[in-house]
């Protein structure tokens, strides 16, 4: 039976048993360990296939959504705003401006690193404002990086490109463009 409890303050208590990291290390509690093995093979889809093949050739492809009058990059088969099909591919310049960035002292496994990684979003030229993709920034220091800086892609050599976003190594400052 659960009777109504007339406590004055809620929550009246905090049920739960606190387990410290040391309890786990010293095996004060029992637990089961599990390492799942799950492999995936994701279909790229038509639009992304062409985009990645384009990267292998050293080109960045975007696609038009005519009703919305925007060039989509990363490209997709349909526009998620007007829900219509996209058409007409266009090769975009590999330059843009920094939309936003972060200076990370954490590596992908959340471990601390001394030399920070510079990462952010590049707003590509030839697209409406705020359209681009995420990538690394290089050949600039953490004090130099700023939103609005003009940047250009640095590509891997042709024989090392495999049809992946990493075919671009990073974006570097575009000198001489007037910043």
């Amino acid at each position: 039976m659960v009777e109504k409890k007339e406590y004055k303050e809620w929550p009246p208590y905090a049920p739960g048993t606190y387990v410290r990291e040391s309890d786990i290390r010293d095996k004060k509690i029992t637990y089961t360990w599990w390492e799942p093995e799950v492999q995936y093979s994701w279909s790229l889809g038509q639009a992304m296939s062409k985009f990645l093949l384009g990267l292998k050739e050293g080109k960045i492809y975007g696609i038009h959504c005519k009703p919305c009058k925007r060039v989509l990059v990363p490209p997709r088969m349909f526009c998620e705003y007007c829900y219509g099909p996209t058409e007409e591919w266009i090769e975009l310049p590999d330059t843009g401006i920094i939309e936003t960035f972060s200076i990370s002292y954490l590596d992908p496994d959340a471990r601390r690193i001394e030399d920070p990684i510079l990462v952010g979003v590049v707003d590509l030229d030839g697209t409406p404002p705020h359209h681009g993709f995420m990538h690394y920034f290089g050949e600039m220091t953490k004090d130099e990086i700023k939103i609005g800086m003009k940047v250009k892609a640095v590509w891997k050599p042709e024989n090392e490109r495999e049809g992946s976003i990493t075919d671009i190594k990073y974006f570097k400052p575009l000198k001489g463009g007037g910043d």
Partner: protein, 387 residues
Amino acid sequence: MKEVAVIGGGMTLFRRHLLETGKELSYLATKMAMEDAGIEKDDIDMVVMGSAPDAFDGIHMKGENLLDGAAGVGKPYVRVFNGGGTGVFAPIAGWWHVASGVADICLVVCEEKMGNTYPHPQTAFRHIWDPILDRPLTPNLVWLFAMEMNRYMTVHGIKKEDIALVSVKNKRNAVDHPCAQLADPNITVEDVLNSEIMAWPVNRLDVSPPSDGAAALIFCNKDIVHRFTDDPIYIAGTGWSIDSTMWTNRDLYFPQYVAQAAKMAYKMAGIQNPRKEIDFAEPYDPFSYKELHHLEGLLLCKKGEAPILTREGVTQRDGDLPVCPSGGLLGVGNPIAATMGQKICELYWQLKGMAGKRQIPGDPRMGIGQAWGDIMQMGTVMILRRG
């Protein structure tokens, strides 16, 4: 559509690791909510479970696993999930059940065990990224928040000191919450700014911790609420909206999807002037800047104005618009879906005058709670009203 009242709430302790299994946590939170309402399992018509990715607990189809702890055995039961938005979306789903008339009494339970991913939930968070475009760059989820925070700061010219004030306020507020994981009565802005930089501009004390925990709420319709209380708290408005996953094709400085969800909720509640008519707010604060970002998204202040309100003390418990009086995620903890405990259970306890040392002075009558999720996409909003 029937009017829906909240008649019980409960939550567990929040910590990085709790011994209890997900089922046991669900049971403990539900038991407290039942004690509040004075009902038992047979009185409940339907159950809604909210829990974020299976990948945290490490149990595929965890909705089905958790149901016996959530009083779901032999009942109509559904699990809903939209990442961090689940904490307010699960009560919205509970509201559907009662407002539509299919259930008189509905139990909503939210549970999360982030401690099960070892060594850190980052390993599960890694899989939120697009496998083709983003994962080859081996990103860390903190980067995403750092990029949004940077954009927000740059567009409005906000300094880190102003954002750090949010961590200070919430961690101090959490001292009065019995379930709190990271309460700190003495924390200062310097502590936040001097804490280690994770990904600039995010420092360690700008981030809420991953947690284990559960929370529960019980709803009933207006026709029978007199059996439980003379002073009912009603759900005045609900709203939810989501934006595209193509986050690199949006300007992140303003959460458009939160504004859309808020407008939907204000319309339902008949609120014309949110800043005047809402007495207090519990926006989602997984990161310190997020409280400000969401306050603006909830249309409770102009774009760029939230840091000014914080600096002027307007958002303190005794201010004109108390924000996160519970201590929020920054102070109490962040077990994703179970943050319903701070976001909606807190609204209910505050409106009933039962929040103890956290109680906002001045007899609040209308509160708004909000959650946010996925890749900068989901906005879920609920407004509770007294009487």
